[in-house]
């Protein structure tokens, strides 16, 4: 008998599964083999050690406890299986709801010309009012400048006309003042008259230059104010649109949550109904 055969015989003897004849033969062999006997004692001792591990009492799950014989455990198993898929069902339902809402509201997200457009109803690429291209902004600025130039030109023309009128009236006034002295015209030399007129022209020129300078400064300030206001207008419009998009997304999220809660309630109701029917 080989070592493996001895081992198997030892185990068979240890667990008392030998026939009477086999048992007697093995006991004789063990008496003549101290090593085999020692090994038997070791294994027997090991069994005593394993016997220290006792069975534990266990409470049967609630679906058996007190309701044995009912179908409650069946529904529990089914519910347990269903619950395993519940997260996947919830995710799938949420996706369907989101896609449905997106379809109904014509929700679009497009990426074009290095810009991301998010919006409802119309494609944002058709132009939200707040979004302008660089060319459109330049065109708007040019239009404003042209309008401003036309305004300045009209003001200058008006001022020139006024000055002409005032100069004419002043000249008339001087002529009128001079008229009584015509009799004494021979008293005023031609040279004195020229000096007087030159002074008048010089003064008028200074007034005109001062007016033009003042007007130019005012125009620059006005133009800067227009540009600033236009920039603020564009910025405000953009912020307003972003707020609108954020509010829409929050509404969408709230709708999704409500739909999810409703789906959970329906599933719970179905489970309760099935459970009651089984009971």
């Amino acid at each position: 008998m080989g070592t493996e055969d001895f081992n198997k015989a030892l185990i068979t003897y240890l667990y008392d599964e030998m026939s009477t004849e086999e048992r007697q033969q093995f006991e004789i062999a063990m008496e003549n083999n101290p090593e085999l006997k020692r090994e038997f004692e070791e294994l027997k001792e090991m069994r005593q050690g394993l016997a220290q591990i006792q069975d534990k009492e266990v409470m049967e799950p609630f679906f058996l406890w007190g309701k044995q014989g009912s179908d409650s455990w069946v529904s529990m198993f089914k519910r347990r299986n269903l619950l395993m898929f519940k997260p996947f069902i919830a995710v799938a339902a949420s996706l369907v709801i989101v896609m449905l809402i997106g379809y109904l509201t014509n929700f679009t997200i497009t990426y074009k010309d290095q810009s991301l457009y998010i919006g409802f109803n119309e494609s944002s690429t058709n132009g939200s009012e707040a979004i302008y291209t660089q060319d459109q902004v330049a065109q708007l600025v040019n239009e404003e400048i042209a309008k401003n130039n036309a305004y300045i030109f009209s003001k200058l023309t008006e001022t020139e006309n006024n000055l002409d009128n005032r100069f004419a009236s002043l000249e008339n006034s001087q002529n009128t003042q001079l008229t009584p002295s015509y009799a004494d015209a021979d008293v005023v030399t031609r040279e004195e008259l020229d000096i007087f007129l030159a002074n008048v022209r010089s003064n008028n020129l200074k007034v005109l230059q001062t007016y033009l300078q003042s007007s130019s400064v005012q125009q620059q300030e006005y133009f800067q104010a227009v540009i600033t206001e236009f920039s603020d207008f564009v910025e405000n419009q953009r912020e307003e649109d972003l707020r609108l998009i954020r509010r829409s997304l929050i509404n969408l999220q709230e709708n999704q949550q409500a739909q999810k809660d409703e789906t959970d309630q329906i599933l719970a109701s179905i489970l309760t109904t099935v459970n009651n029917q089984n009971n």
Binding site: Q48, I53, K56, V58, V74
Partner: protein
């Protein structure tokens, strides 16, 4: 008494399986009640953890419920049930290994193993003999551990173990022999002085 409680339970199982196969959920409920404790204790000795044992036991009976029609010979229900339970134990152990693999921290079991291997004195001071034996039993290779549980705690014959696991009787005896030897070696290496000795 001519029949042992185990025999009576087995006889009842056969009747209950037949009724369950015919769609009698009431009978299946009784069948679960009859075997719940046994399967739970098999799983408990396999894992040494109540929660895992309960999980495996429930999974076992779910699998039994699903595949009850596959039993052709109701007399073999007992072996089939143990086979399902052992398979569920193997699956659960694989799941636990995956969890441990992806976990940053080592599991409690791993920590307990370290204590047994490297700090036997502390382990002995902290635990009762039963807990230590249970912990050591858990460290055995699966195939040896299963045979020991079936033989030592379920009282199955070698023929029954062989039928349940689909192996020969000699293989079952060999696994049991080396399992017991390995247990003894682990205890000796740990320097434990258990009360039963």
């Amino acid at each position: 008494m001519a029949e042992t409680l185990r025999d009576i339970a087995l006889y009842h199982s056969e009747c209950l399986v037949e009724k369950s196969q015919k769609g009698d959920n009431h009978a299946f409920g009784k069948l679960v009640g009859l075997w719940f404790k046994r399967i739970y204790n098999v799983a408990l000795k396999y894992f040494g953890d109540h929660d895992l044992a309960m999980e495996v036991t429930q999974r076992t009976f779910i699998a039994v419920y699903k595949h009850l029609d596959n039993i052709k010979d109701v007399k073999s229900f007992k072996y089939w049930l143990y086979k399902v339970a052992i398979n569920q134990c193997h699956e659960e152990e694989r799941r636990q290994k995956r969890k441990t693999w992806f976990s940053i921290f080592q599991s409690d079991d791993a920590n307990r193993m370290e204590e047994i291997n490297f700090q036997p004195e502390k382990e002995y001071q902290r635990k009762e003999t039963e807990e230590i034996m249970g912990s050591i039993l858990k460290t055995l290779p699966e195939e040896q551990k299963v045979v020991i549980i079936m033989k030592e705690y379920e009282g199955m014959k070698f023929r029954e173990i062989a039928e349940t696991l689909g192996i020969s009787e000699n293989t079952a005896k060999s696994r049991l022999y080396y399992g017991l030897k390995r247990l003894r070696k682990t205890i000796e290496n740990s320097g434990l002085n258990l009360e039963y000795k």
